[in-house]
Each structure stands twice: as C-alpha cells, then as structure tokens.
Symmetry: none
Subunit: 281 residues, 2 copies
DNA sequence: GGCAATATGAAATAATAATTCCAATCCATA
DNA sequence: TATGGATTGGAATTATTATTTCATATTGCC
C-alpha cells in the first residue's frame, strides 16, 4: 500500500491498460471485465462479480491487490465514486457549457459545443422527417440498378459513408468523385433505370449542382438531401429532404444528415431483400 | 409483503411523500434523508446511513418494512437500480428499437434506430472524454508542420471531414488515401515534426494499422481515435481516445467520432491562432 | 523433461453488516 | 397523572461477504 494507488476511475483505467500485458491470464480476464462492466463492479459482491467474470473471488482480490489496493472493497470504492460523479454533475455540466461557450473559453467548451450541435440536429430531424417522402425515396432507390452518390466538399464524408454502406449491403453503387476528372463520363453512364442520392448544403458546391442538373436531364431520378426549399438541388430532385444542421464554431454538424443517410441506405437494403424473397416465393 | 411494494424509484418516492404525514418522527427523519441523499442510500451500509441520518440502524430497517420491503437490503436495491438506469436509459431505448426493427416494423423504425444510436453515442462520449488526453492531443497537433490524416473504410468519412475542416482553417494537412497506391511514398515524407490523426475501429483495417505502425516508427507522433483499449492503434499512439459508438442494423454510428474529430480540429485551429498572436505581440 | 516460481481453485476463516429482540421511553387518552 | 400502545435505542444474533490459506495446476526456464 505504499505505492500510489489509483484514486479515481480514469487513473485506475489507465493503470490497468498500462499493465495489461504483464497480467496473468485470470487477472487479465477480470481486468477486462471490470473495464467493460464498471457498474457491476460498483454494485456487486465479490462473489457475484467473480461468477459473472468467470473467475474465483480470490482472483478478484488478487487483482485489486496487484493494483495496490488492500482488497476488493477499496477497489470497489473507486467504481462507486465514478457512478456518483457521473450522475451528480450532468445537469450542472450542461448549464456550465452554455456559459463557457459564450465567453469563448477553453477547449473543453469546443468539444461540448460540437456534441451539443450534433444532439440538437438529431433532435430536430427526428421530429420533422416526412415519412411519405422517406418511403418514396426508399422505393425509388430500391428499384435502381446502380445508385450514384453525389456530394462535394462538406457533404462528401456522408457520400463516402453511403458508398461504404451500400457496398457492404452488396448494392451496386458509384461514388462520383472528382479526383481523376472523369466525372462527366461517369455520369454519362447513368440511365433512367438508375438513381442518384445527392447531398449539398449552402453554399452549394457548383460542381455538385451542375452534375445534378446534367444527370437529372438524362432522366435519372434524384433523391436529394439539402438544407432548404430554395436549394438548387431541390428543383432537380424527385424526392428531397430538408435537414437543418446546427453549427458550432463555423462548422456544421453532420450527424442528422448521417443518420438519415444511413437509414435510407439500410432501408433500401431491406426493401430489396424483401422484394427478392417475394420473387422467389 | 403482499402489498404492492414500490419497485422503481419514482413510485417509491411518491409513496414516501404520500405517507410522510403519518410516519413516526424517526422514520420520517430517515425518509427525508433518503429522498435528499438517494446516492448515500445506494452506496452506504445500514450502519453508515443510519449514522448520517442520525438514527439507529434498526430504524432504517423499520422504515424499509413500513414501505413493504422485507428489509433494508431490498429497499437499497431500488436506489441502486435508479443509478444504473440513469446511465442506461438510452441503451434501453435503443435495444427496444433494435427489437422492433428485427421483427420488421417499418422503415420509420430504422430511421429512429439510427437517430437513437447517434444520440446514445454522443451521450456516452460527452461523459467520458478525458480532458488531459484532449489537451495533449491538441498541443501535439498544433505544433505539427503537416497533419496527416489516416483512416480507411468505415472511418474514412471522418478523415475526409477532418481534411476538409483543416483545409478551411488553413492548416497544412495530407489525407492518406489509397486510390493511387502511393501511400507508402506519402507516408515516407512524414517527419517527427509532423503529426498524425489516425482513426480505426474494430475490425481494424489492416492497411490502416500497418500504415500507423510504419509512420510511428518514423517517429511521427500519432493521435488515435479508436474503440477499445485492445485496439492495435492504441499501442502506436502518443495519445488515444476511446470512442464507443452504438450500432444499429449492423452499422455503427459515426456521430461521436465526428464530434470529437471536429472538436480536435477546431481546437487545434484556435490554439494556433493564439500562438501566432502571442508571437507577434 | 524436470525444477522452481507463479498462478489458480476451493474451502476455511475472519470481518462486516443486516436483522432481531427486548428494555426503555414517549405520547395520547382517560 | 396513570396506563396502554406505539416508538425508539442499543446490544445480541444471524446472515452475508471479504479475505486468507493451502493444495493443486500451470508456466517459464535451464
């Protein structure tokens, strides 16, 4: 007990991670369990925790001792303290954030700001998603041969995630990228039997708008995700969604757009699976 | 024990308030204490709580019995459960949505699921961001000549957003992409005066890990965003963040990672501005 | 492959904590 | 103010739980 014993959870966590390599098998097992189920450690008895983790109570005590505690009980105190702090400070933290962000102080405030912006955006979209539009968009995309994904600059991350997800769902798709300068050719392959997911927010990237125009003139239906009815994207789209992302420090959140994009993608995948099943039956 | 015993904290609270008038003095005393210090009830022992409340342990037990519990222990369980639920209410909501989606309950459920997964992730990260690590990461990145951004597959959208934001903030950066197959060369330019933001989640893309290894061997400091202490990325990183993203329908949310990434980026921008101002003054 | 050091399992033991019991006190009512 | 019932305090008892111990197994090393 003369060594410096971790007194708060974060230190404890760090200590465990640091020593992980050198811990014996069973001790490592309980170490992993502790980090995964901190609540169980906080409330359980040595016997119950040991059983859940698949070890003997004595191992649990040895684990505590290796960390410098004099027994399981003192180790448990750290886990309990963590729960206490977490719950008591939540409301206070939220109030403090607003004040802090106002006076532009501290990096933590920046982080909290982005979290708040994301939460706000999610909260907002969950209340105003138009379900009819959503169904229309899914139907439209589900019958497409190839789904083209079109987005530039700020929206590009969303496009790349859609492309990734479509790929994982084995849905043919094409991300319209500008690297090789072959976008025009890529677009020219699109036919009315395909479909496009286009994403653009103010200030609308000119390239994205132009490509959307061209592709819609080829008769390819477009599902658009954009930020207002005045968006140039909306006029080219068969179906469009309005997503209002909150911003912080000059950067808008992408969380609502991401959530909508993922939902569209997965719903399309599901619809296709159902259609395939029906065709067989 | 045949009466209906309060099984959740809210019911218990209501019951206590209702009967408050008719309770004997000492019992009322412990009742007031319980509502004022629910955490103490959750964590303490009968003796310690009784002492804090200024009563005898036996009174505490009588109090529990008057409420219909068969002893202090069962009363305490309600207080403990309350602490647990505080943390897991989002999780439960998410679990309910997952179950719904499983049984094929409409496309709206899919959308709600992704929104819930994102909210959960944000909620989670806001409580467990390590501020010291955060500051370390900012300091490390702020003094880098070039910031390299490394992420593959699912994490790639985050990387592309970071690159976009760094660009807007006029911070020199290089996204390590695989399109042209020149990654090795790109990486070889990195020096210890640069820094890397690397992002990878289980199952870790082998290319990402390998590139992180090489670049760290060149002495370039790495800031990693990953999902567990067992991540191979963690071992190469100077600073690393654990982000637990909730998943839905097989796709994990990116919202927490995005929020952290944006906060890092903007904070680095701010730190550089401050440093520049100081130099001039 | 054999030996020492280390780790683990299981049961015995010690410690701690909950509960019960009974005498003392309080309080309302006659 | 006397009396019965309810309430309370505090110690005794019982239970639960943590810890220790020791025999057995495993691991690393020569």
């Amino acid at each position: 007990m003369d060594e410096r014993v971790p007194r708060d959870f974060e230190t404890l966590r760090a200590t465990i991670l640091e020593r992980r390599q050198s811990l014996p098998k069973r001790i490592a097992q309980i170490a992993a369990y502790a980090l995964d189920n901190p609540d169980d450690i906080a409330f359980g008895t040595a016997a119950s925790i040991a059983a859940s983790a698949g070890v003997q109570p004595s191992t649990l005590i040895r684990f505590a001792q290796q960390l410098g505690f004099d027994g399981f009980t003192s180790l448990q105190l750290v886990f309990r303290e963590r729960l206490r702090e977490r719950n008591s400070s939540y409301d206070e933290r939220l109030a403090a954030l607003r004040a802090k962000a106002e006076e532009g102080a501290g990096h933590r405030a920046i982080f909290d700001g982005f979290v708040a912006a994301s939460s706000t955006s999610l909260n907002d979209i969950s209340g105003r998603l138009n379900e009819d539009h959503f169904e229309d968009a899914i139907a439209l995309l589900a019958k497409a041969e190839t789904i083209y994904v079109l987005a530039k600059r700020r929206s590009y991350p969303v496009a790349s995630y859609i492309a990734y997800a479509l790929g994982k769902l084995k849905i043919r798709n094409q991300l319209i990228e500008s690297a090789a300068g072959l976008n025009a050719e890529m677009i020219s392959f699109a036919s009315p039997r395909d479909a496009v997911i286009a994403i653009s927010f103010s200030p609308y990237a000119p390239a994205a708008i132009e490509e959307a125009r061209v592709i819609s003139e080829q008769g390819v239906p477009i599902v658009a995700i954009t930020d207002s009815s005045f968006s140039p994207l909306a006029q080219f789209a068969k179906v469009w969604f309005e997503v209002a992302e909150a911003d912080f420090a000059g950067f808008r959140s992408l969380s609502a757009t991401m959530a909508l994009a993922m939902a569209l993608t997965v719903a399309v995948g599901e619809k296709r699976r159902d259609a395939g099943r029906k065709r067989k039956a």
